[in-house]
């Protein structure tokens, strides 16, 4: 028992190091293969070249404005889509009439892969900002909607009964019972929607853009700058990981009461 207690953090640390070992090895092999000419630079540039491209583009002021444009698009689209999804989810979650009226149509729309709407969206909005923000908002609203309704419907009716015997007002019931009860599910939707937002943005920006990370990639394709193309892919990946980390941080902070998210030793 004692031995186990002492070795537990050590084991955890070993596993943590091990989990980082494979990506490091892959990057190392990638660099080596490129250096020895086993992979041509027009196919895949070595990581060092990609890093160099990042530094050059940052220095000449091309990268950061484009990154800002992409992030703004994603944030705007996400806020719009999440608000719509959340509000619809609340309405449908609370009212069985609203559910009867809206839910089937929304579920049918959801069955359409939202990226399949792209040609139609381009007809509506052209290839401007509207098209990109709309696509992101569309992709985001569904996971938020579904998880919000789910969270509200999964609430324990016994807690609502208790709330009514404590004479809570409607507002108090929502704030102290319904919203916190639905929050784990809502945050799951948020986490999923961040991934969708990013995916939608990549697609939208690759169709046509005059600024943004996608534009950077398209522009680089014209000149066969594989290092910049790979750099944009890496940036998409890094931002995706960051968004997920933010969502997880929110879960840990807001769901501290939840046994699944509880800090250890509590």
């Amino acid at each position: 028992m004692k031995k186990f207690l002492f070795s537990a953090p050590l084991k955890e640390r070993t596993l943590f190091l091990l989990s980082w070992a494979s990506p490091v090895i892959i990057v190392f092999l990638w660099e080596t293969y490129c250096r020895f000419g086993l992979i041509g630079p027009e196919i895949l540039p070595p990581p060092s070249t990609v890093l160099l491209a990042a530094i050059t583009l940052t220095k000449n002021g091309a990268l950061l404005p484009d990154l800002g444009v992409s992030l703004t698009r994603a944030a705007t689209g996400w806020c719009i889509g999440a608000s719509i999804g959340f509000l619809l989810g609340l309405i449908v979650g609370f009212s069985s009439i609203a559910k009867a009226v809206l839910d089937r149509s929304i579920q049918m729309l959801r069955a359409v892969p939202f990226l399949a709407l792209l040609p139609l969206v381009i007809v509506w909005f052209g290839v401007g900002e509207g098209q990109k923000i709309f696509l992101v908002a569309l992709g985001v609203s569904f996971p938020v909607y579904i998880n919000t309704t789910l969270g509200i419907r999964q609430l324990d009716p016994k807690l609502l009964e208790m709330g009514s015997t404590q004479r809570l007002t409607t507002y108090e019931t929502i704030r102290r019972i319904i919203f916190p009860g639905a929050l784990p599910s809502i945050l799951m939707g948020v986490r999923y929607s961040l991934a969708t937002a990013w995916l939608a943005l990549v697609i939208a920006e690759t169709i046509g853009a005059s600024a943004g990370i996608g534009f950077l990639a398209l522009d680089a394709r014209e000149f066969l700058q594989t290092d910049v193309i790979v750099l944009t892919i890496v940036i998409y990946a890094v931002i995706g990981v960051c968004a997920d980390a933010v969502a997880r941080f929110l879960e840990r902070r807001l769901l501290a009461w939840h046994p699944n998210y509880a800090p250890k030793g509590c």
Binding site: K158, L159, G163, T165, L168, R176, W257, H258
Partner: protein
């Protein structure tokens, strides 16, 4: 209305007349009469399905009625069989749920102190044992200063020793706050230990009534109550 036994001297916290509750074709409460005086502890016994929990739910406003009248005076609080604490709120916030006037945290702290959990104000419900959680539920009910306290088998899921401790705690709390109490229970001994008056319910009506203090020996009331529940000739079913 004339009620024998001089009961009109103390005001009723709840007076129920000809209460009818149907569920489809089934009549769950059949023209039921009930009156609980201020500070009186009434236990409701009966077989499963006799309508005693339905009566409590109707009084709590959780179920609709199809006939009769309910007159209540003052506030009402319920303790259910499950603690029904909000897992996302700490203990003092759970206890202060629904409190509007006055300093909520101080009141909740005092109520938790009374049930012996004064040092756990900021703890989460998940860290409590079954008995502790039920004590918080009692604190949440009593902090409302109810005129009528409804208890729906609040100790049924606790172990025997914890239950005895809870009986003692409940009696001391009742003595301090003096609400009228309606306790729904399956446990004859529990009803004798706690209640002033024991009502036997059958087929949606109250069919018998025992005033515990009328008996010099509490074992006699036990015999009578068991008999009324269908265990004739013995004091105990064993």
């Amino acid at each position: 209305m004339e009620i024998p036994g001089g009961e009109q001297q103390t005001p009723a916290v709840v007076a129920v007349q000809g209460l009818v509750r149907t569920y489809g074709p089934k009549v769950v409460l059949n023209k039921l009469h009930l009156r609980i005086r201020k500070g009186e502890f009434v236990a409701l016994l009966g077989e499963s399905g006799c309508g005693k929990t339905t009566l409590l739910r109707v009084l709590a406003g959780l179920d609709p009625i199809q006939g009769g009248t309910i007159q209540t005076s003052g506030t009402l609080a319920v303790v259910f069989q499950e603690h029904r604490l909000l897992p996302w709120e700490n203990l003092w916030r759970n206890v202060s749920l629904g409190l509007r006037c006055g300093p909520a945290k101080e009141k909740a702290a005092k109520a938790l102190e009374e049930v012996g959990l004064g040092d756990r104000l900021d703890d989460w419900p998940r860290n409590l044992s079954g008995g502790q959680a039920q004590r918080v539920a009692i604190a949440r009910a009593l902090v409302q200063e109810p005129a009528l306290l409804l208890l729906d088998e609040p100790f049924a899921s606790l172990d025997a020793l914890t239950r005895i401790k809870m009986h003692k705690l409940l009696l001391s709390l009742i003595a301090a706050h003096k609400p009228g109490v309606l306790l729904v229970t399956h446990d004859v001994l529990e009803s004798i230990v706690l209640a002033d008056r024991i009502l036997i319910m059958r087929d949606g009506c109250i069919v018998k009534e025992y005033v515990v203090n009328d008996y010099a020996d509490k074992r006699t009331v036990q015999v009578d109550v068991f008999e009324a529940l269908g265990f004739a000739g013995g004091g105990s079913p064993y």
